[in-house]
Symmetry: C2
Subunit: 425 residues, 2 copies
């Protein structure tokens, strides 16, 4: 930590003392979860660096952009179309929401029976310990779930917030509503930045974000190999960092990592034994730095081969059609791609059941762990149908509901061990 | 209980043994909560009778209608436009969701961290202990909250379900979506019943339902008097029964009750001392037979003068404009009236804050009890702003989060006593 950053944090209104405590807590956690892993791809060093400087260089880039008159647009959710933000020469940044550290701060205001992700994100703002949100000119929220939807109303008292309405159904009229929301979002971003969103700008942004999606798809595909050439923890981190790092840099780094990892596959090199139980995780998103479940599974001898979640396949599954056209046509293509996210906020959401079964097959998963954050009604309820779908396919399932605390670590470890034993047996 | 009903229940697929236990549990509860009250209006005897025969005559009426080829449409939520059901000569019936009895049954399938109302309603169907749902040909659900939205997906495996999408915002495009949902609902009902919904039929139904709304408004207005001429418990019961009783009969009974109660006001007669603390309850709905909070407050010496909830003012606050016109115009008037419900599923929902403050003034409330069911994210989060709004007005507030069980009775009683003491002091 250099003095430069400290001044920058102070200028951003960061509570330095609290922030010091947050940053102080991270290295031992990262050492234990990440740096202790063996035979990691060299390409992961970039991501280790990013985490080691997590509130440094990237924040400085955003701040520089702001000082040059640019805007920073913060988001929490994969539904917010980054392409529009980029087309207006603004920088989109996904916010942290994955640590227990900020949860007690949020509980001073939010109901306790709220999922940890919501509490953590709110606590970062309320406690003034996140320089990313402090650099942002606008937070874009959405109406995916009740907890978030209502939290944003309170957050709006602390920071400018724009809410996009994500519909509840996938009907034609719901689609029309969403297209309208995307068009309205473009106008909000134009007004914020003072820049016009042109067809050219959209096409350029769409191409760039698609490149990142392709890069992440490429990375995920490598995990179908046996033995697995990269740990689930590492892949998760790459996905998490992709939410807030510079898009072009991310594309470059992820592709470089893929080059190396594909080389490993060719050489038959893995980070886990070929017979390590292969696990597909499915459910609620895992915001950085939430590595709890992956760490649990991969220290128990399993390898996480895929994540069917918004910090996984749902983040990059589909590309936006790159057909160019008018601004309106491109916005429509963008809106339609985002409506394909199989989020549990939609009813019905049977496509997600199909995804889970398909991914389990493609990644040769020996078992699925369904993960929902406590108080997450959408994913908790979908677990009922997931259970049935997997039972019909003969795929073992472990249902886990948890939060960010360490309180249930022992209990979860016992359940994971039993599950893995059952799979191995 | 006559033999006739037993056969009817059996014909409806009711689990008779479980159902006997449910019906057996009700009389002592009703005795304790209702019949022990003093100086009740004579007009409440009709409602006592309804509860005493809760799965008897009304169910028989519905069944008779079905046997004559008519349809019964079950609902849980005030958003579902009864007018359309009635215009198609079908009978709308609000379903019970207010007892702990059916909760454990639901917990065999639904996540435990689900609000009691959702679990109770689901348990009634799963356990086959509700003849109302058994007589119904269709359940109409909606997307107001995550828990319900996702529960309906599972309920649809047990009973035909149609889902109406209630939007998340009150924007023009959200309104358009809702108008589309109401129009689609009409077609669903026409298909179900084989009856055309005509302008005439809609006008007649609208007029009738408006009469019930006026009757309930009239009843609620009597509670502004000091001393209060009817207990909150009794008013709540009347509102709860209005959800499933015959509309015309309800209009007649409620107006007769109002005649009597208005007479009491003229005579200065009350059911509580004039200086009893007057409480406005606001928040999550209280489905029949959930009388927990009212009983707690009114046995502690307070009187509940109003409920700002879907089993209160939100059920009847606004009338549908009776301008006649084409079917499309009338459907639009209906849709627009239902969009005026200040439900916490909307973001933002500042109108509800205004309602609470206004009602507190109109009903001369000495304090407000904000009530949300545990795991109800929408109302739990709105409590944050309600607290602030009431503090600014200098109106005392008690926030209660609870479920249907008796486990927290002692704790709640202590908090209520302390609150009332503070108010009195």
């Amino acid at each position: 930590m250099t003095t430069d950053y400290r001044q920058m944090w102070a200028d951003l209104g960061i509570d330095l003392e609290r922030h010091d405590a947050l940053l102080g807590a991270l290295p031992p956690i990262y050492q234990k979860a990440y740096l202790s892993q063996r035979n990691r791809p060299i390409g992961m060093q970039f991501f280790d660096f990013v985490v080691g400087d997590i509130h440094g260089i990237r924040v400085q880039e955003l701040r520089q952009h702001a000082m040059n008159g640019g805007k920073v647009v913060a988001t929490y959710c994969v539904f917010v179309p980054e392409e529009i933000v980029l087309a207006a020469d603004a920088i989109p940044v996904g916010l942290c929401a994955g640590t227990q550290f900020s949860v007690p701060i949020a509980e001073e205001i939010l109901p306790r029976n709220t999922c940890a992700l919501i509490k953590s994100s709110f606590g970062f703002k309320l406690g003034r310990i996140c320089p990313y949100v402090q650099t942002s000119h606008l937070i874009v929220g959405e109406t995916t779930c009740d907890g978030k939807k209502k939290m944003f109303e309170i957050l709006a008292e602390y920071h400018p917030v724009h809410i996009m309405e994500v519909p509840n159904k996938k009907s034609q009229s719901s689609r029309d509503l969403w297209r309208g929301e995307v068009a309205a979002f473009k106008e909000v971003i134009e007004k914020l930045t003072g820049n016009e969103v042109t067809g050219e700008g959209l096409a350029r942004a769409t191409k760039l974000v698609n490149e990142r999606r392709r890069a992440l798809q490429r990375l995920y595909n490598t995990r179908q190999a046996r033995p697995v050439p990269i740990s689930g923890k590492d892949a998760l981190l790459v996905t998490q960092v992709s939410f807030y790092d510079d898009v072009a840099r991310c594309v470059q780094q992820v592709n470089a990592l893929c080059d190396e990892v594909e080389g490993r596959i060719a050489a038959g090199e893995g980070v886990f034994p070929a017979d390590a139980p292969r696990i597909l995780i499915s459910g609620s998103p895992m915001a950085i730095p939430n590595w709890k479940l992956h760490h649990l599974l991969e220290t128990a001898g399993a390898v996480v081969v895929c994540e069917e979640s918004c910090t996984g396949t749902r983040a990059f599954s589909d590309l936006v059609a790159e057909n160019g056209g008018t601004v309106q046509e491109q916005l429509r293509a963008i809106a339609d791609r985002y409506m394909q996210i199989h989020c549990a906020c939609f009813t019905p959401n049977d496509e997600r059941l199909d995804d889970i079964v398909r991914l389990a097959r493609e990644y040769q998963a020996d078992g699925v762990v369904h993960y929902n954050l406590q108080f997450c009604h959408t994913y908790a309820n979908e677990a009922v149908k997931v259970e049935r779908a997997l039972a019909e396919e003969g795929i073992p399932l472990l249902r886990i509901e948890t939060d960010y605390s360490d309180e249930d670590a022992g209990q979860l470890r016992a359940r994971v061990d039993a599950f893995l034993e059952m799979i191995r047996g």
